[in-house]
């Protein structure tokens, strides 16, 4: 199973991006995410990972996510995940990390979060 990565920088909220993952984040594909995140981590502070289509994760993938989370926190930013499939949720529960991560259970929660971010980083007035 391959990994597809779609990075969507927010047009409305500065310093924010959504990263959509699909497929398998494992020993073979984790380096692809690591490479995709390198330039992104230099230019955003808040990343929401949309994992709706992520079918599988192993410790290799978790390491990349942990490293990204660490860097974002060091930059006074945030790391969040949404739409975890049962297998993915199970793996995070096993490694006891869920309390440390911010997980959105619905679009409304995510929208509220982004609205708060927008207020915090109001885009400059075009006029």
């Amino acid at each position: 199973m391959a990994l597809s990565i779609d990075v969507q920088k927010s047009a409305d909220v500065r310093w924010t991006a959504r990263v959509v993952l699909a497929g398998s984040l494992d020993g073979a594909t984790a380096h692809l995410l690591e490479e995709a995140l390198k330039p992104l981590l230099d230019s955003v502070r808040h990343i929401v990972f949309d994992l709706a289509e992520l079918k599988f994760i192993s410790s290799a993938g978790i390491r990349v996510l942990l490293s990204a989370r660490k860097q974002l926190k060091a930059q006074d930013g945030s790391f969040a995940m949404k739409n975890l499939q049962p297998q993915i949720e199970k793996v995070f529960e096993i490694i006891g990390s869920l309390p440390g991560f911010q997980i959105f259970r619905s679009e409304q929660e995510l929208d509220s979060y982004l609205a708060a971010m927008q207020r915090k980083y109001a885009a400059p007035d075009p006029s």
Binding site: G27, A28, S58, A60, V91, I94, I95, G96
Partner: protein, 145 residues
């Protein structure tokens, strides 16, 4: 029983994992359990590749079988003695960043398998992963006198 040999190197792990999952499929394991097989085998194989042979390199043998216990995967290597189960489990109450990332793999193996055993036999490490069959339905009790 099916068996295949692979070089014990990280780039080969995806192929070995796919092979093990295909055997699980053939053995009739449901898809969710197949994901457990995928996870446990990947984590176990990465452990072997990193620990067993040092710079020398070597092979590993993957074996799968349906037994009374369920679907069984055995990973055998002839590297130096290394019991992955002896690695202390990470403290899962500690903040994530401070935990030994190396212990995560074996923690995952323990939690998604029903049984995991390691033995040293004739110069080989043998790691056995068991994915138990679901319980058969209870037989109807015979009517009493």
């Amino acid at each position: 029983m099916t068996q295949r040999r692979f070089p014990a190197v990280v780039p080969v792990v995806p192929e070995a994992v796919s092979w093990a999952v295909a055997q699980a499929d053939d053995a009739g394991l449901p898809e969710a359990r197949g994901l457990d097989v995928k996870l446990a085998v990947e984590e176990a194989l990465l452990n072997v590749c990193i620990h067993a042979y040092g710079t020398g390199g070597g092979d590993l043998t993957l074996r799968t079988e349906r037994t009374g216990e369920g679907f069984v995967v055995e990973i055998e290597d002839s590297g130096s003695p290394f019991d992955p189960l002896s690695v202390a489990a990470p403290d899962t109450s500690a903040p994530l960043e401070s935990r030994e990332v190396g212990g995560l793999g074996i923690l995952l193996v323990r939690r998604v398998t029903d049984l995991v055993r390691w033995r040293r036999e004739a110069g080989r490490n043998v790691l056995t992963l068991v994915f138990a069959s679901p319980q058969p339905p209870e037989e109807e009790a015979e009517a009493g006198p």
